[in-house]
Amino acid sequence: MGKLAAVASTGVEALLLHPLRSATSLACLVAVVLPFVAGAGVARGLLDQVEESIDFGADLHVTASRFGRPAPVPLELVGTIRAVPGVRDAFPRIVGEVVLGVDRLPCVVVGLPAERLASAGELVEGRPWLPGASDELVVGAELASRLELQVGARLPPFYRNESGERVSTVVGILRADLPIWAGNVMFCSFETAGRIFDQAGLATSLLVTCEPGNREAVRRRLRSIDELAPRDDHGPLAVILRSKDDLAALLPSSLRHLEGIFTLHFVLAFAVGIPLLMVTSGIGLAERRREAALLKALGWMTDEVLLRGMVESALIALLGASLATVLAGAWLGLLNGAGIVGVFLPGAPPAVAFELPFRLLPVPALLAFVISFAVVATGTLHALWRAATAPPALALR
């Protein structure tokens, strides 16, 4: 046992005997593993925010469709829904898109009833819009940063409306540590959003909050109400009801699908990385042969030579995986994922003003170690085995 430990400790020395080779292997490992650990961290952080969006969001989302495509919902349905037993509250919401500035930045307009965001002053630098005030906007941190907007900034008319366009005022900027979807959003009152899109009496969805334990019962009752599928000159509107459970079942599978594609890409990268490292470790092949032959000539057994190589590989893998994890944490936390955000969040610039969500988990880090060890050991042990099984005189020649 003591002999084995002594042989194993020479693995540490082997790493220091060839600092350039060790440093190159370490750098290659970090380059391969770091994006994987960082990407897995962002995927997990995003999933946390998705779960919050479902958990703290409305119990039921009522939307409509025509021709199988999304269609606006008439506001008359709000009263019908509120009258259903078990419904605590129902409110309309408008979610639409406009483009702003000479660079035509896409911006998500969200119109809410006056009492909604107005009660969440701590989320806003400045203030929320005032009930009854028109054309007051609260913009996301990312949008404010890209358009260089401050509280009090005035936006010239950016929409067309038959009753006339107005100058809008930025009265608040959302905090940077809110969900990523708040970054490019322009919040305003429901009436202001209706005027921006020149649509009166319509919402893109109705959000329903139910009394505790009544969600499914309310959903069943809503399905049985004829007024919920209003008929106009164009025929009946197909109303769609989505509950938290529907979303919880639908979305993680979608996100896992994306995460799976990401993982698949990295499996391919690792698969390419193994022969790559074998080729790069070929630089030190002559050194390894000579080293193994000398050890054999001194009386070392083949398994002892391999043990020494395995300890060296394990140490490099441990250092590589640990360094990749630390760098991933620093990159995502201190640098807010600068340069990599756009890869994971479509539409985001290389550096964002909002806080990038991430959570580093042990499984990807452990996987990084296992893969690092496999990559390094494949190159090292193969070369050592060939040298150690050959006659020393032949290997030294």
């Binding site: 540490v12 020395e13 790493l15 005997l17 961290g41 925010q49 998705v50 919050e52 969006s53 479902i54 958990d55 703290f56 409305a58 989302h61 939307t63 999304p70 409110f91 979610v95 639409g96 898109e97 896409p106 998500v108 969200v110 809410l112 909604r116 965001l117 009660s119 969440a120 701590e122 989320l123 540590d177 809110l178 969900p179 990523i180 979807w181 708040a182 490019n184 959000l207 989505r242 979303l247 639908l250 979305l251 979608s254 994306l258 140490l315 441990l318 250092l319 995986a321 640990s322 360094l323 994890t325 630390v326 944490g329 479509p346 539409g347 964002v352 959570r359 580093l360 988990l361 880090a365």
Partner: protein
């Protein structure tokens, strides 16, 4: 091999995994963020995907807004020439 090099390597072999383990432990369980929860309560739940706006794929921003995704046509190389949606 110098004694200093060996000491440095051993220090790195202990410090790096310890730092990594501390970072993993610190982020092991998701912290409920008061601001984010409050925001989602106020707006009724907004955002359920990786996209940060509606321009490329509304479904990627929030499938509650639109369930289809124009990016489903992404592999078609002549999409813009054909006038297909998504740009």
């Amino acid at each position: 091999m110098t004694a200093r090099g060996r000491a440095l390597l051993l220090a790195a072999a202990v410090a790096l995994p310890a730092t990594a383990a501390a970072m993993l432990t610190a982020s092991a369980s998701p912290a409920i963020h008061g601001g984010r929860a409050s925001f989602q309560r106020e707006v009724g739940g907004l955002g359920l995907g990786p996209a940060v706006d509606l321009s490329r794929c509304a479904c990627g921003f929030d499938p509650r807004v639109e369930s289809g995704c124009a990016l489903g046509l992404e592999p078609v190389p002549v999409r813009s020439a054909l006038g297909l949606p998504g740009e």
